[in-house]
């Protein structure tokens, strides 16, 4: 997955767990929680989806790395490099 694809992958996960939110205009450097309604249970859903879709385990001490889209790209980049993009909510 390229870094652009990682952004799409995260947006797709968010669109799945927060289906009422508009994800296309999310800013890269602003905390996700400050842009859309996401609570701690949603955040655990994001971690779960990363585990299910890509086999990526995110330890609790690293959760803060995922607070922005840019943080997600930086942190997940190496872990998702060899994975293929999975689309659920945004396909089509």
């Amino acid at each position: 997955m390229t870094r652009d694809e990682i952004v799409i992958a995260i947006k797709d996960i968010i669109a799945t767990i927060a289906p009422d939110e508009e994800v296309s205009n999310l800013a890269m450097d602003v905390r996700l929680r400050d842009q859309i309604e996401l609570d701690s249970m949603d955040f655990l859903d994001i971690v779960m989806e990363l585990r299910k879709r890509y086999g990526v385990q995110v330890p609790e001490e690293d959760y803060m790395q995922l607070s922005t889209l840019q943080g997600c790209v930086d942190y997940l980049g190496p872990k998702l490099e060899s994975k293929s993009l999975v689309l659920t909510a945004l396909k089509g």
């Binding site: 767990i17 927060a18 289906p19 009422d20 939110e21 309604e37 249970m41 655990l44 859903d45 779960m48 585990r51 299910k52 385990q57």
Partner: protein, 412 residues
């Protein structure tokens, strides 16, 4: 004992396999329209179920629907519809004085089965077990979801009463109003049971799951060839108020909850007991201060099992022999809505006060002689000569729980 305040029904919100509002539901009951359809569920395969078609997104966001349970979603639908029907605007109310009391047969099986199915895909690695499991499976989930959705900080919980539970929610709501604990009660029952394969598998293992070539005829209480239950989903919540409060705001009054009774057979895990049922009916009549002949409609629990229907008919015969009472059954249209059954089936009969008709029991091609009760209304609606003033609903459940509720036409 001090005189307790009278309690009336002022709103009805329901989700039924053959209607998502009382007028639609009633129309289909009078026109003999079944809500049972072919249905398939994992591990069990093809069977039948009563399936609701309401739009959950009318009262929930997609995220709320995703996070919550089906029972929660049905409860939210019913609560909103009941409030709308009653004309009550919660914004002008002290919401801490609103109680939510929801009867459930079971809760949590759906989510637990789903999670086990999920982790089975990952060799039972429990890091794939959802953090949503506990809030979805706690027994107060359906009532709790209503409080979250409507912003109700009052008392809200579920009452586990197997298939007698729908009446329990209504009864408990009445009691809390009479005790002065709340000023408005949302009471009734819900069920999400068609989404758990275990319910179907267990009834099948018991030889009690309906079979028929035609889904709409699968649920046929009192028919000689009945062979079991159709599992259904649904819900019904009433707005209940003390009569004085209802009159003060000029509310529409569907009827007064005149009496009730709950008891236990104390005899078997699953088999019904006619003596326990008789005691329950007589208890409700005594509580209401009524004689059997003063009941115009007995709405039976009968689930279309061989033994259950016979035992119930024996109980009805022993109490109502010689009475003018008409007897009907609503499961013949919608199957067994489990925790919703008592409240939902009662709702289907309340319009009798206005339209003067008794909805029939459908699908009786060959009446079982053991179920040939006097007053049984079969296949076509009946307009009794005597005005319909009182309805008695019966609901029974596993472990021998029996419940009966009597609703009376409102009289000032």
């Amino acid at each position: 004992m001090r005189e307790l305040p009278r309690v009336v029904i002022t709103g009805v919100g329901l989700a039924s396999p053959n209607g998502d509002s009382l007028p639609e539901y009633r129309k289909n009951l009078l026109e003999g329209r079944s809500g049972v359809v072919p249905y398939s569920i994992r591990h069990v395969g093809d069977t039948f179920a009563g399936v609701c078609k309401f739009d959950p997104l009318r009262y929930q966001t997609r995220k709320e629907a995703r996070r919550g349970t089906r029972a929660g979603g049905i409860s939210i639908w019913c609560a909103n519809e009941a409030l709308k029907d009653s004309g009550i605007d919660l914004a002008s109310r002290d919401r801490s004085r609103v109680g939510v009391y929801i009867g459930i047969t079971e809760h949590g099986n759906v989510e637990t089965e789903t999670q086990i199915h999920e982790v089975a895909q990952y060799n039972f690695d429990l890091s794939f077990w959802s953090h949503h499991h506990n809030p979805r499976t706690v027994a107060n989930n359906p009532a709790g979801e209503v409080t979250l959705s409507l912003g109700i900080p009052g008392p809200a919980y579920c009452l586990g009463g197997a298939c007698a539970a729908g009446n329990l929610g209504l009864i408990h709501g009445m009691q809390m109003l009479q005790l002065g604990i709340v000023d408005l009660a949302l009471g009734g029952g819900v069920s999400e049971s068609i989404h758990t394969f275990g319910i179907f598998a267990s009834f099948r293992a018991q030889g009690a799951l309906a079979r028929h070539e035609d889904a709409s005829k699968a649920s046929r209480p009192f028919d000689r060839d009945r062979n079991g239950i159709v599992v259904s989903v649904g819900g019904c919540l009433y707005t209940l108020e003390r009569l004085d409060d209802a009159l003060a705001r000029g509310a529409k009054i569907y009827g007064e909850v005149r009496g009730y009774f709950v008891n236990s057979d104390a005899s078997d895990f699953v088999l019904p007991n006619s003596k326990g049922q008789q005691a329950c009916i007589r208890g409700a009549l005594a509580h209401a201060g009524l004689a059997p002949d003063e009941i115009d409609i007995v709405n039976t629990h009968a689930t279309s099992t061989k033994q259950g229907d016979e035992v119930e008919c024996e109980a009805i015969r022993s109490v109502f022999a010689g009475a003018h009472t008409r007897v009907n059954n609503t499961k013949s249209y919608i199957g067994h809505t489990m925790g919703a059954a008592g409240a939902l089936e009662l709702a289907g009969n309340i319009p009798s006060f206005d339209d003067g008709l008794v909805h029939p029991t459908i699908n009786v091609d060959n009446l079982d002689p053991a179920c040939a009760l006097d007053g049984l209304v079969l296949n076509e609606p009946v307009r009794p000569e005597r005005r319909i003033d009182r309805i008695l609903n019966m609901s029974f459940g596993m472990l021998g729980i029996n419940s009966a509720v009597i609703v009376e036409r409102y009289r000032s």
